[in-house]
C-alpha cells in the first residue's frame, strides 16, 4: 500500500504548474491528478475501516497484538496523506476558481461544485477501469497520447513545448504507476481514458458552469459518458447525505450494548402503538387466498395442510416415536411371557392414533411398575423379571 502513496505524491508539485497559471483547461488537469490518489485512497479506506473495527475489538479485550496495532497506525497515516492530497487539490481548485471568474465572466457560482463533481466522476470512472486499456499500456505512451498531450499544450497560453513535455512526463509517470498496480493485481487505470476524460470534463466545466446540474445531460453529445456521469454525480451526492457531520451525541457501543431488559407486561401505550402499526399496512385483501389466510388467522378456517392431526397437540413428536415403541422395553426381560406380553402392548399402542407419545410411554411405565410390585408372585412362579 505504501509504495502506491509515494508514487502518487510526486504528482502534486507538477499539478501546481498548470493550475496556478489558470485558464480553462485547468480543471481537466486537476481531474487527472486527483484521479489517482483518490482512487487508491478509496481501497485503502476500506482496509483502514476493517482494521479500525479490529482495533476496537482489541481494545475491548485489553490485549493489543502489536502487529495489528502497527497496521492500523500505518493505515491511519495513509489516511492523513490522502487527506492532505485532497486538501491541497481543493485549495488549488478554489484558487483556480477565482482565476477563472476573472477570465470568464460566465463562470459563476456553480463552477466550483461542478468541478468537484467532474473530479468525482472521473474518480469513479477510474475505478471502473475499462479492459481495453492494457494493450496500449504495453508500449510506453502511444502516439495518440502524445498527440493529445500536444493538443492540450496548444490550448495553454504558455510555452507549448514545456507544457507538452510536462504533460508527457506526467503521463509516463502515471503509466508506470498503473503498470505497477496492474502487476500487483490492483485497480487498473487507463491512461487513454484519462486523456479523453480531460477533454470532456473541461468542456463540461466551462459550458455547464452556469447551468443547473440536472440539465447538463441533455446538452452534451456523448451519451454513454453523460449517463454514466449523472449516475456518478448521484453517487457522489449520496456520499454527501450519508457521510458527513452527525450529532455525535450517542455512542454506537452504548446503544448496541445489550442490557438485561426486565420483561414487563406491555402497557396500554405499547398495545395501542402495536395496533397503530398493524393498521399502517392494512390493505383490502387482494385475492381469495389472502382472505383465507385472514380467516385462518382469525381461527375461522381449518388449518392447512388438512390431515388427521388437526386440533391434536402432540408437542411436535414425530411419526417414529409413535410407532417404534420397543426402545422403551429395554428394562424388560429379553424373553419369556412378560416380554411376550409387553410386545403385544407396544404393538397395540403403536396402532393407537388417539394417545400422545407421552401417554404411550406412561402406559408402558405403568406396566413396569405393576410387574415390579408383583415381583414376589412372579418369583413364586419362576418367572424372571429384571
Amino acid at each position: 500500500m505504501l509504495p502506491r502513496v509515494s508514487a502518487v505524491r510526486p504528482l502534486r508539485p507538477l499539478s501546481c504548474f498548470p493550475l496556478c497559471s489558470g485558464g480553462p483547461e485547468v480543471p481537466a488537469a486537476a481531474t487527472v491528478l486527483l484521479g489517482a490518489p483518490h482512487g487508491t485512497a478509496r481501497t485503502k479506506n476500506n482496509v483502514q475501516r476493517y482494521f479500525g473495527t479490529n482495533n476496537t475489538i482489541c481494545s475491548k479485550k485489553d490485549e493489543q497484538p502489536a502487529s495489528m496495532h502497527e497496521i492500523s497506525k500505518e493505515t491511519e497515516s495513509q489516511e492523513s496523506v490522502k487527506e492532505n492530497t485532497k486538501k491541497d487539490l481543493l485549495d488549488i481548485i478554489k484558487g483556480m476558481k477565482i482565476e477563472l471568474s476573472t477570465v470568464n465572466v460566465q463562470t459563476t457560482k456553480p463552477s466550483s461544485t461542478r468541478q468537484l463533481k467532474s473530479v468525482e466522476a472521473t474518480i469513479n470512472r477510474l475505478q471502473k477501469a475499462p479492459g481495453d486499456a492494457p494493450k496500449k499500456r504495453t508500449k510506453s505512451l502511444s502516439p495518440e497520447l502524445v498527440a493529445a498531450a500536444s493538443a492540450i499544450a496548444d490550448f495553454l497560453p504558455f510555452d507549448k513545448q514545456t507544457t507538452k513535455s510536462e504533460l508527457l512526463r506526467q503521463l509516463q509517470q502515471h503509466e508506470e504507476v498503473s503498470k505497477a498496480q496492474k502487476n500487483g493485481g490492483r485497480a487498473k487505470i487507463s491512461v487513454s481514458n484519462i486523456i479523453s476524460d480531460m477533454k470532456v470534463a473541461k468542456s463540461a466545466t466551462i459550458r455547464a458552469s452556469t447551468r443547473p446540474v440536472h440539465q447538463i445531460q441533455f446538452d452534451e453529445g456523448s451519451d454513454d459518458y453523460m449517463s454514466q456521469k449523472t449516475s456518478d454525480v448521484k453517487k457522489s451526492l449520496r456520499k454527501n447525505m450519508l457521510k458527513g457531520k452527525r450529532l455525535n451525541i450517542f455512542d454506537l457501543k452504548a446503544v448496541t450494548e445489550e442490557t438485561s431488559e426486565t420483561e414487563t407486561t406491555p402497557s396500554l401505550w405499547d398495545i395501542e402503538f402495536a395496533k397503530q402499526l398493524a393498521a399502517v399496512n392494512e390493505q383490502p385483501l387482494q385475492n381469495g387466498f389472502a382472505e383465507m389466510i385472514q380467516w385462518t388467522k382469525d381461527g375461522k378456517l381449518w388449518e392447512f395442510p388438512i390431515n388427521n392431526e388437526a386440533g391434536f397437540d402432540d408437542e411436535g413428536s414425530e411419526f417414529h416415536e409413535h410407532i417404534f415403541l420397543d426402545i422403551h422395553l429395554k428394562d424388560f426381560p429379553k424373553q419369556g411371557p412378560i416380554r411376550h406380553f409387553m410386545e403385544l402392548v407396544t404393538c397395540g399402542l403403536s396402532k393407537n392414533p388417539y394417545l400422545s407419545v407421552k401417554q404411550k410411554i406412561e402406559h408402558i411405565e405403568w406396566f413396569r411398575n405393576y410387574f415390579n410390585e408383583k415381583q414376589d408372585i412372579l418369583k413364586e412362579n419362576g418367572i424372571e423379571f429384571n
Partner: protein
Amino acid sequence: MCPLFSGSWGTRFYSGSATLPKVEGTNITGIEEVVIPRKKTWDKVAVLQALASTVSRDPTAAPYAFQDDPYLIPASSMESRLFLLAKKSGENAAKFIINLHPKYFQKDIAEPHIPCLMPEYFEPQIEDISEAALKERIKLKKVKASVDMFDQLLQAGTTVSLETSNSLLDLLCYYGDREPSTDNHFQQSEKSEELEEDTGENDKKSKADDQFGVTWRAKNNAERIFALIPEKNSYSYCTMIRGMVKHRALVQALNLYAELLNNRLQADVYTFNALIEATALNMNEKSEDKWNNILELLKQMAAQKVKPNLQTFNNILKCLRRFHAFGRLPGLQTFREMKAIGIEPSLATYHHVIQLFYHHENPSKGSSRIIYDIMNEITGQKFTPKDPDDDMFFQSAMRVCSFLRDLELAYQVHGLLNTGDNWKFIGPDHRRNFYYSKFFSLLCLMEQIDVTLKWYKDLVPSVFFPRSQTLIDLLQALDVANRLEVIPQIWKDSKEYGHTFRSDLKEEILMLMARDQHPPELQVAFADCAADIKSTYESQDARKTAPDWPANSLNCIAVLFLRAGRTQEAWKMLGLFRKHNKIPGNKLLNEFMDSAKASNSPAQAIEVVKLAGAFSLPICEALTQRVMADFAISQEQKEALGNLTSPTSDSDSDSDSDISEGI
C-alpha cells in the same frame, strides 16, 4: 418383530463410527444406517401464502374487496368508497349487535370452537369493591368506572398497589380522561380527507385532535390520582408526561419532567420521545432555541444511558419539519446519527426527510437532490411497519417526482412500491389515489403515448379512478402525440368514472376534437361523441345545478356536427346560441357558410348572415359579401341582406322566426 428390530438397532448404533466394522471383521455393508426423516412442520398459512403468491393482479377486474357483481362493482372513486364503507359498517353493525346482546348469541355451532365468532364481554363481571374489580375495569377501558372504583377503594381505606395505580394512570393519560371512542377506522379516514397536496398536514392533525375533543384539562382525574399515589415511581411520571404531550399540555409536561429529575428518577425512551415532541411544539420559542433544547434532551438521554429508538429519530425529524429551512442541516445530522448508531430508518424516516427538503420548495430555485440519495439507498429493500407514519412515504416520494418532473425517478419509486410487500404501505384510499394520480400525470407529461396508454389500461380502473384533471392531462398527452382518435374512448371512460358533469373536462375534449379537420370516419365518431356531450349538457339543464352552456362548447359541438355532415343538428345548435344568449364564433359562421355553399342553399347562407346581424357581429358584412359573391341569390334576398347590413337591424323576432324556419 421385536428381535429383528432390536438387532437392526444394534448395528445402526455401531455403524456410526467408521472404525468398528474393521474390528469386527464382518462385512456389514449391506445394512445401512436408517435416517428417520424429520417431521415437516408447516406454518398454518404457508400453503395459502404459496397459493396467494401465484395470483397476480388482474387489470381487467375490480379489486377483490368488492362484490363480484356488475351491479355492485364501483365505477367511480365515490362509489368504491361507499361500497367499502358499507361493507365495513355492516360488519361493525353485526359485531355491535352481538356484543350488545351476548345472551342471544351463546350457541356454539362450530367444532372446533371459534372464539372470534363469540360475543365479547364489555361489561365488568366483578361487582364488589376490590383491586381485582379495578383491574378488570381498567382492562375493559372503562375510564369513569375505573376512577370511581379507585375512589371507593381509597375511601374504604384500601391501598391500591403501585402497579394497578400506574395502569390506571396509563388508561387516563392515554385517553385524556375521556371514555375511549369506539374504534372506527373508516370514519377517521373520512374526516381527514386529503385528496390534494397535503400542505396543511400539521394543521389537520391538530384539528383532528380537536375534533375528538381531547385536550388536557387542568386538575383532571389523571392529575388528581397522580397526586394521590403516595410512592410514585418513574413509570408514574413517565406515563403522565406522555399523556400530557399526547393531549398537548406541553408546558405541564416539561414542568413535570423537571419534577421527575428533582426526585432523582429517570425517564424512559418513550418519555424522551414525547418530550422531544413537546419541545418542538412549544409555541413561544425560535427554531434555533427549540433545536438546542432538543439537543439538550438527547444529551441527557446519552448521559442517563437511555437508548434511543427509531421513534426518537423519527420524532426529531418530524419536528424539524416545522422549522422549515432551518431544519435541513439538523435533519441530515440526525439522519446520519441514527445510521451511525445502527438504527435502521423506516419509511417514515425517509418521508420526513423528503418533507423537510421538498415541502416548501420553490420551483424557481435549484432543488435538492436528496431524493436521489434516498432512492439509491432504499431501492430493492423490503419494509416492515415500524412507525405509524410509514404509509406516508410513497405519496410524498411521488409528489417529489412529479415536482422534479423526473420520470425515471418515478419508475424507481414505483419499482420500490412493487418490491415484496411494500405495496401495503401505500396507505388508505385517498393516499393511493394521490400517488397514482401524480404518477399517471407524470407519465402523460413525459412518457411516449403508447406506453402511457398501456399504463392507463393497466391502472384504470382496477387500481384507481382518475380525477378529471388526470384525464385532462391524458388528453393533452394525446394531443401532443397526435392520437386524437382515442378521445371518444376517453370520454366514454370519464362518463363511467363519474365526470359526466365536469365542464372543464368536456370543454377540453370538445376543443381538441373541433380544433382541426380530420378524415371523415373520425369526424363521424367525433360528432357522435359531441352529440353525447351535448346530451349531458341538456340533462344538466334539467338538473339546474351547474352553470349553463359555455360558448366554446356550443361552438365546438356545432362545428363537429357540420364537419360530420349532420347539418340539421348543427342548425339546431345555432338555435341554442340564441336561447342561451351566447355569441357564435367567426370561425363557426364561416364553416356554416361553407356548408351552405356545399349544399348550394342560398337560404341557409342568408340565415347565417341574419344570425350574425342579430348579434351585431362585425363579421356580418364580410359574410354578406361572401353571400353576394358565392351564391346566386334573388333580388328579394338581396334586399333582405341589405337591410341586415344597415345599422338599423329591424327586429330580433324576425330573425328568430327565420331561424326556426331554417330549421
